[in-house]
């Protein structure tokens, strides 16, 4: 594939489970493509050089900064953004836990942080507080001081582990 600098290239990807297409110049960042071309404005753009983590989305499942990726590099990939989290039943477990623990205030950084935490919880079933803080170190939040986020992530991990225990084992534990 060879695209001229002024050429608009058709980019097709799967956004939150739906196939979507739009046009991007080679230099268009993925975050701008999502917001301006596909209208998915849940993803916020902060520093634009990979430091703050506000623009984090999941690319083929992996939390990635969408300002450090070109739209053309997302061709054919599966993208998940904050819009994918809440279902018809309402907020996801993680979103509810964020609300309960006051893990957000102004909310600007939250869309990216939620996407990192989602991947983290998929990959680390029984995290320590140090592991959660290490993962969150890839994000800047100027409101909360992070403590609420740590509590929210640890609580969701615990709840999911308890829910995953088979019934027979639960009975044994009760005895």
């Amino acid at each position: 594939m060879h695209a001229r600098a002024d050429q608009r290239i058709r980019v097709t990807l799967t956004l939150n489970g739906r196939e979507r297409s739009g046009y991007a110049e080679p230099r268009t960042q993925l975050c701008d493509f999502l917001r301006h071309e596909l209208g998915a404005t849940g993803t916020h753009v902060g520093c634009e050089h990979g430091v703050c983590g506000a623009c984090t989305v999941r690319v083929d499942g992996r939390a990635s900064r969408s300002c450090l990726m070109l739209a053309v590099q997302a061709e054919g990939r599966r993208l998940d953004t904050v819009e994918s989290l809440a279902g018809e039943e309402g907020l996801s477990d993680l979103q509810q836990a964020f609300r309960r623990h006051h893990a957000l205030q102004c909310g600007f950084c939250t869309a990216g942080i939620l996407m990192s935490c989602e991947e983290f919880l998929d990959r680390v079933a029984d995290p320590s507080e140090a592991q959660v803080r290490d993962m969150l170190s890839g994000h800047l939040c100027r409101c909360t001081g992070y403590t609420g986020m740590v509590q929210a992530v640890l609580e969701v991990a615990r709840t999911h582990r308890e829910a995953a225990v088979p019934d027979s084992q639960q009975e044994n534990n009760d005895v």
Binding site: M1, H2, A3, R4, A5, D6, I9, E25, P26, R27, Q29, D32, E48, H49, G50, G53, T56, V59, R62, A63, S64, R65, C67, L68, M69, L70, V72, Q73, S116, F120, A130, R133, D134, M135, S137, G138, H139
Partner: protein
Amino acid sequence: MKPAAFDYLRPSSRREACELLYEAGDDARLIAGGQSLMAVLNMRLAQPKRLIDIAGIEDLHYIERRDDHLAVGAGVTQAELLEYPGLAGAVPLLAQAMPWIGHWQTRNRGTVCGSIAHADPSAELPLCLATLGGEVVLENRRGKVRRVAARDFFQGVLTTDRHPDELITEVRFPLARPGAEYRFHEVAMRHGDFAIVALAAVIDSDRVTLGVGGVADRPVSREFARHDDPSEALNALAWSLGAEDDAHATAAYRRQLIRELGRELIAGGPSDEESAHARQG
């Protein structure tokens, strides 16, 4: 900011990538994970006319344990290498050093070879490669393969021995030697920031190889006999690197870190508690 305009080229083979590099000369930059380059492009510190994306080249995506080294292809991300099941046994220094690279989210896209190619003097992977005495494998547009020792590859700040028409296809980390111990530690303003001083140590019964990152214009490693008191060797190493004052630390502080952290690493490494604290700090 937004990058300046560039042509975007996505070759499907190594040979095609090298041809494109040769045609473009100094006007082109290679991109793989882009976790260093994209920031540089966004801030317009670099404004290449062409960007050559090697993500579409299938046969660069492998991790292979061979007789005496672990080979990592240019398509492998840092997260993938960290998750490689045999990593702690094969190259224990990498298992210790890699969690210090950037953040979870940047390791998900940043590649191992990309960090070597970028050659930041404070980066962890070039330091590991230099300390272990590893190699970089390059290929040019005629298919000629060149193997360069790490100590010859890194030539200064963001400067390497790569020829303009060459692609790094692989890096080779020597496998752990029986009986040797491997340790890593670094000090930065916050975890994930550029290291003020990073140290990598290979400790045998009779000698120590200590690598230092973040001080000189490239990672530097020195070997010395293992005495009861390594103070003299550490002091000589600290003074030999031409440390300078900058916005993050003074030269004297860097020398002191080399002496103190060096002593701790050789004696058995900072305690887990200190490490955990530093990792969180």
